[in-house]
């Protein structure tokens, strides 16, 4: 009996990654655990936040201080030269504007398609519904493949247009299923009453269902907007004109120059002077996300939960 207890304790121990002495009265042991837990969680917070603090510190620091390896939590040799440099680069602003445009257009299209399809799927009486659901779900299990997708987008003549970024990701099946299960949870009576009052399907969707789904629609908009805002690979793949890049690709080319991995190249001198520029670009790119984060976070959490319950 004692061995069993010890055994299970050690296993739980390992799982929790919290050292805890054995054979101490529960209350004291629990207090020790709370202390250890506080230390671990503090460490989690510090480790999560440190990179952000470090980047901000570097972005305001003097080049020589960075190269000397003296910048950690606080800027050294405070100056705004790098900010001035990046912000005076017209290409940076062009690409930033592109990100905004791509995000808005892509999110709008994605929302229209997702809402329409989810609404159809949410109606149990629709004939052929299993086929319609299957059409979407299959694509989750069998991804289309990078090369064929590229060949298709190219042959459609979408390269170097906004559509190459917007269209291939227009419906996210996970979001679609979340939206569908939300529509299914709405009371049918309201829609039936509206139909009796003479509204057609489009009217019911626009004037009854969508107003009832405001919170859910907002969540979906955020899901799509954040993913389009953050995306870089589609643009990297399908766009090779500097003035059409989103800001994520701008940043990518900056860091690719630093490792010599990308096609931008760059001498080691240029790399060194790029250190602050990179930090500044990261800060300016991440700023909008950090700014809206406190407001959008809980919508995301509720969206994920809803998806998990029914998805």
């Amino acid at each position: 009996m004692v061995t069993v207890e010890r055994d299970s304790t050690t296993r739980a121990d390992r799982l929790l990654r919290a050292a805890r002495p054995r054979g101490i009265t529960p209350t004291r042991g629990y207090r020790v655990f709370q202390g250890v837990n506080a230390v671990i969680l503090t460490a989690v917070v510090v480790v999560t936040l440190y990179p952000f603090v470090n980047i901000v510190a570097r972005s305001f620091s003097d080049q020589t201080e960075i190269i000397a390896g003296r910048v950690n939590l606080w800027p050294r040799g405070f100056n705004l030269t790098a900010y001035r440099l990046v912000m005076s680069d017209p290409m940076f602003w062009t690409n930033y504007r592109n990100t905004v445009v791509y995000t808005v257009v892509a999110t709008a299209i994605a929302m229209v398609l997702t809402v329409c399809y989810a609404y159809v799927l949410s109606k149990p009486h629709v004939r052929g519904r299993p086929v319609l659901v299957g059409m979407a779900v299959v694509t989750m299990v069998f991804p289309p493949g990078l090369i064929p997708q590229y060949v298709l987008v190219t042959s459609l003549g979408l390269k170097n247009t906004i559509w190459a970024i917007v269209l291939p990701g227009a419906i996210n099946v996970f979001n679609l299923l979340v939206m569908k299960s939300f529509f299914e949870s709405l009371p049918v009576e309201l829609e039936e009453a509206a139909a009796v009052d003479g509204l057609n399907t489009y009217g019911v969707l626009l004037r009854i269902v969508l107003p009832l789904s405001k919170a859910m629609v907002a969540t979906m908009v955020l899901f799509y907007a954040v993913s389009f805002w953050n995306s870089w690979f589609t643009a990297f793949l399908y766009i090779d004109r500097l003035d059409l890049f989103p800001v994520t690709v701008y940043l990518r080319n900056l860091i690719a120059g630093a490792t010599g991995a990308g096609n931008m190249g760059g001498t080691s001198d240029a790399v060194q002077s790029a250190a602050t520029l990179q930090a500044v670009t990261i800060v300016l790119t991440v700023l909008p996300i950090l700014f809206v984060y406190p407001f959008i976070q809980r919508y995301f959490v509720s969206g994920v939960m809803l998806g998990a319950v029914k998805g």
Binding site: P26, R70, C116, P148, V249, F300
Partner: protein, 325 residues
């Protein structure tokens, strides 16, 4: 509209003959369309999207077995059989990147699957609500960042003048160009993956934890179980369905690993450990323009991925009764 509806109509007419009886199995197709045509019309554009951007590329995988000419048909020119398959099976680099994929995939799974569970259990023990919420908010944050930003941060932290090397120097060591060293790549990749995903990964576990019946804990306490045994015998079984579901999902992404992040972080110096199937096929396709060869590799990768997820799902249905679908 008629084209998208052709297939289901044909199959339904063939199989669902008894549905002719009124009210037996819903209306026939003709009546369904007459009644629901407005609904169906909403599905037309989304279906077009799925067909064009998902199913056509899926069929486009045939170029793995066909000669492909850039600018020619997206389905290739003529059949070449298994030429490209044989080619990559005989390609030592392919087996090299295959091994790398397995290693990085396994390491990622080993760390990013259990750590969110541990963090969720720890968070669950926090009694002060404000503290709990603060830690949660902070730990979710990296999830909202673009991979490019994460990669850029990794590079800044690990650069020769970065914080990590300052620690190394403070400990009396020599600065290490981490991203140039193949032996460091896996650690870097997995740590940054943990940094980005662990916090967000706790959400579903925390939700599952709140659904565990309080009476179970009380019963366990009456039976003399201390907190550890309560955790072991009540909490963990309580979140087991969530664990299994997420494990299956993790296994499903096993083969693709963090393609975008590796693409951003690796360089020719770290290829020996960093190059995985997806990055290799990316270079084959876009740097060497061997589209068919790359498509063959991609198809192989996808098949393994599908097999893995179906197997994991079948096993979990047999053993613990949890299944994705």
């Amino acid at each position: 509209m008629s084209t998208t509806l052709d297939r289901p109509r044909a199959s339904a007419d063939g199989t669902a003959a008894p549905a002719r009886a009124r009210r037996a199995r819903g209306p026939t197709w003709r009546r369904a369309i007459r009644r629901d045509w407005q609904l169906y019309s909403l599905a037309v554009v989304p279906l077009l999207f799925f067909v064009v951007f998902r199913y056509v590329p899926m069929l486009g995988n045939v170029i793995a077995f066909r000669r492909f000419r850039p600018g020619g048909s997206i389905f290739g020119e003529y059949w070449v059989g298994l030429r490209y398959v044989k080619m990559f099976l005989a390609d030592p680099t392919f087996w090299h990147v295959f091994t790398n994929t397995l290693v990085i995939g396994t390491l990622t799974l080993v760390f990013t699957f259990p750590l969110p569970i541990a963090l969720a259990l720890l968070l669950n023990e926090v009694r002060t609500r404000a503290v709990k919420r603060f830690v949660q908010s902070v730990s979710y944050l990296p999830h909202f960042l673009s991979i490019v930003i994460v990669a850029a941060m990794v590079m800044q932290l690990l650069s020769v003048d970065g914080s990590v090397n300052q620690l190394v120097r403070a400990a009396g060591g020599e600065a290490i160009p981490f991203l140039q060293r193949p032996e460091w790549f896996r650690s870097i990749y997995v740590s940054s993956e943990v940094w980005q995903t662990v916090g967000w990964g706790t959400i579903l576990y925390l939700a599952a934890l709140t659904t565990i019946d309080e009476n179970l804990y009380e019963a366990a306490r009456i039976d003399g179980a201390n907190r550890w045994r309560q955790t072991w015998h009540v909490t963990l079984p309580g979140i087991r369905p969530t664990m299994v579901t997420l494990l299956i999902l993790n296994i499903g992404t096993f083969m693709t690993v963090g393609f975008e992040k590796i693409l951003l972080l690796y360089n020719p110096l770290t290829y020996p450990t960093a190059d995985v199937i997806s990055t290799y096929l990316f270079r084959m396709g876009f740097e060497s323009s061997s589209f068919s060869y790359a498509a063959a590799i991609g198809l192989f990768e996808a098949l393994i991925g599908v097999t893995l997820i179906l197997t994991a799902n079948a096993i979990s249905r047999r053993t613990v009764g949890t299944s994705l679908w």
